[in-house]
């Protein structure tokens, strides 16, 4: 009984040489699997990635342009505000001068008379 079992096991587990095209078949199967995986990726993905990159670049450029425009406008407003402030201070200065000038002139005119008297 035990001899029979042993004989059957030996026959079942005996070393068998691989067929000559075994390695080619394995390599071909690997290639087929990889190709199937690549085909599984959606074709629109690279297009979407490229479109996202372009959109991002355009958005950044637009933000920079807008920021520069706002900055230049703000700069101009600062200069205008300083100009208007200067003009109003100038107006005050002119009015004070105009009010003081006749008084100064009349005192200058009257000075020789005072001395003469």
């Amino acid at each position: 009984m035990s001899h029979d079992l042993e004989r059957q096991l030996r026959a079942a587990l005996r070393a068998v040489d691989a067929p000559p095209d075994f390695s080619q078949r394995v390599l071909a199967r690997i290639e087929r699997t990889q190709a199937r995986r690549l085909r599984a990726l959606p074709t629109w993905l690279p297009v979407a990635l490229a479109a996202s990159a372009i959109f991002g670049a355009l958005l950044t450029h637009a933000w920079h342009v807008r920021q520069e425009r706002a900055g230049l406008e703000a700069r101009q407003q600062v200069i205008d505000a300083l100009r208007v402030t200067g003009e109003k201070l100038d107006l005050a200065y002119r009015v004070v001068n105009a009010e003081l000038q006749p008084a100064a002139d009349s005192s200058n005119d009257s000075a020789p008379d005072d001395q003469g008297a």
Partner: protein
Amino acid sequence: MKSLLAALAVLLLIGQRALAADARLVLPEFRGLEDKASETVTITLDAKLIKLAAGFLDASKPEDAAAKDVISGLTGIYVRSFTFDTDFGYPLGEVDSVRKQLATPSWQRVVEVRSRKQKSAVDVYLSLDRNLANGLAIIASEPREFTIVNIVGSVDLEKLHRLEGRFGIPKLELEAKAPEDKAARR
């Protein structure tokens, strides 16, 4: 109830202090004036825009550098200026409403000029917080023009003085003329 009243009183006190510390004026909207005016200047610059503007002022140019220096401590610049083709085409009441806001202890009138001949009036006010100027206001009215300038922030008069001769700002010789300015006539 008592604690609620106490909390309310504290809040009111904080509010009053906050109002006193802020030198920003509530400028009227001057609705409809833009249509009547032949020239309008409306400038509203908050801290964010002032900072942005500072970034576009070229420090290598003397004028820009001086302006940059002046605005460095500011948190607001507000200008309303209207020019008309006819005399007194603007609502005097609205100008007076701004003058009333300046009738508080935190504001001090440093220059008051009235000219009967030119029918013009210029008032320059400084807002002081612990003896430091934290705001400037100019109200100038002429027959065909009125202007309100409100500058908020640490106003350094010395820096403003250094701007003389730039952007049309005249050489005021403030030190020499100070006693006469105080005696400016009505």
